[in-house]
Amino acid sequence: MSRALIIPSLAIAALLASGHAMAASKNVIINANVVGTCAFTDGNDVTINLGDLKAGSGDQSKTGSTSFWCSNGITYNLSTDDGLHGDASQKKMAAGEHQLPYALALERSTGTGQGIASPETLTLTATVKGADLDVAPVASGYSDTVVLTLTP
């Protein structure tokens, strides 16, 4: 009999003693993965105009530039395809049936990203060799389109 009364008495004491501890708590775990990514800062094409080229004037070069950012700390790679008229060994501009070999050099082809707040500028240099100019058929509108790819 007396035991039956002691038990609720202890329960009351424990409840009163616990005070503010009478709250329900739960851990909430928040996870995320920052993954490596790159993006050009605008969607504009880069145009490199070599202007009027003449035989006997030696090698001719012009530059263009673009900018991009990559996630902080990741390694990025830059590459170009062969263009519309070339192959792995030689890019070519074309004007109708005429073709003019050229080279397109990237300022760099790899690097380490600095984050979106630190975009990088990339300079591209197109060069036509004097020897190729000397034998090129005269035509206007030699042109090529190359795809520049930034990964990841």
């Binding site: 609720p8 329960a11 009163l16 709250a23 739960k26 928040i30 995320a32």
Partner: protein, 150 residues
Amino acid sequence: MAARTHRLLSALLLGSLALPLHAAATAGLHMHILVLGGCTFLTPDHLVMDFGALNGGDRSISAVAPVNCTSGTRFTVRLSDGLYPAGTQRQMAQQNGSGRLPYTLVADPQSGLGNGGNIDIRLTATVRQADYANRPVGAYSDTVVLTVDP
């Protein structure tokens, strides 16, 4: 803590029910029963909110923690600042580095009146692209304590 509170309440109620059966043999004994309101989470497990791969745009994710508060109990919801706050700004920590990733976490509702049934506490976590795009690549995590009083 929630489970212990529940057991204590059960003991209290059992005691009060048992009392009238023995009342005839204990003349002169007075018993005061204190009925306390409280809240318990319906699921004991921790709650995981995973943004997954952050690869573009501001991102928000939500999760629900159902809670049961005794009828008529006014409850309030609290969220701790997490393990790595900068002032009051919650941050996840890079697991294999020293990077920190700010985010926000809000609960809805933040208070209410218990009805004896289930009430969903919805948590929404948000991280902005401007914050994660500059952070070192890797896995980030934080742990926040969600508390419902009383």
